[in-house]
Amino acid sequence: MTACAGFMDLDLFDGGGSRGAAPEARELERKFTELVTEQMKPVSIQRRVFGALMALKDVAVECATPGWDGYESDPLNSNSLRNALALLVQLPSEFPLPEVAVDPDGEVSLEWYRSARELFAVSVGSSGKLSYAGVFGRGKVHGTEFWCGEIPYALIVSLERLYPKKQGLRGLFNKR
């Protein structure tokens, strides 16, 4: 049994439980399952991304209804979820998987956190817009890219700052 098949067999959603209306959670479950089937074909990718998907599933249930954050937030956007899954599948294996969350506007947020002064986050929009911000010691970065099926170079550069390679020129420039 592949990791993907095992994933599909799990009872991923509990119908929303005490959180929100069951129909919204069920619809999100249906879309989530559809996205997973669409994205996770190679076994190597399935295993790597499985952990992030389980975390995303928990977040999806929590954020399925308006106001989930206590401050008039939008529910998780299904197109944002689709784009975030596609990005996670494309993430080079040299980088660890991010923590997943949802922003008040319903967009999926991916965060790589090493310390209070070493972190990088990307917010994945429904239209493919990628808003990002990071802290690298005394340096900061923020900007916008667009998802076109591959992870934009600007995001790779930031991830390499956070996780410098042990060899190569880029590792020299990232020393702190």
Binding site: E62, D69, G70, E99, P104, S123, Y132, T144
Partner: protein, 133 residues
């Protein structure tokens, strides 16, 4: 409890409800999602913490910041108000409900909001209720 506020608050409290987006209980940190502004009016709802213990602020949140779906806050993030001016933000106290204020001045650009929220989260302290700590 004195519900009046001073003209220049020193510390603010941002109530937290989401264990995935607002804070990490395992690492004890506040996440940047806790300081992302309301997308409709770009404001951040906070309370003035000055002169209150953590327990008193938790009780204040239970009374004045309970939500119909999310219930009472799980805790709050404590942040020195001086951090706001570093990012061109300001605090407008309205005392509706008591001790309430809004932080305004956020950019409409999301990546800038994220950058500011990361800085504020980095400067904040997580104050969870005893049952969750």
């Amino acid at each position: 409890m004195d519900s009046s506020t001073s003209a220049n608050p020193v510390t603010l409290a941002r109530f937290l409800y989401s264990t995935s987006s607002h804070f990490s209980p395992t690492s004890g940190r506040v996440k940047h999602g806790a300081f992302m502004p309301n997308r409709k009016d770009l404001s951040l709802s906070v309370f003035v913490l000055d002169g209150m213990t953590d327990t008193e602020m938790h009780s204040h949140g239970d009374r004045w910041a309970q939500r119909s779906m999310e219930g009472v806050p799980k805790g709050f993030a404590s942040l020195p108000c001086v951090e706001l001016s570093d990012h061109q933000l300001r605090m407008e106290v309205d005392n509706t409900p008591p001790l309430h204020a809004n932080v305004v001045g956020f950019s409409a650009e999301k990546s800038e909001q994220m950058s500011v929220a990361q800085a504020l989260a980095g400067a904040a302290s997580l104050r969870l209720k005893r049952s969750l700590a």
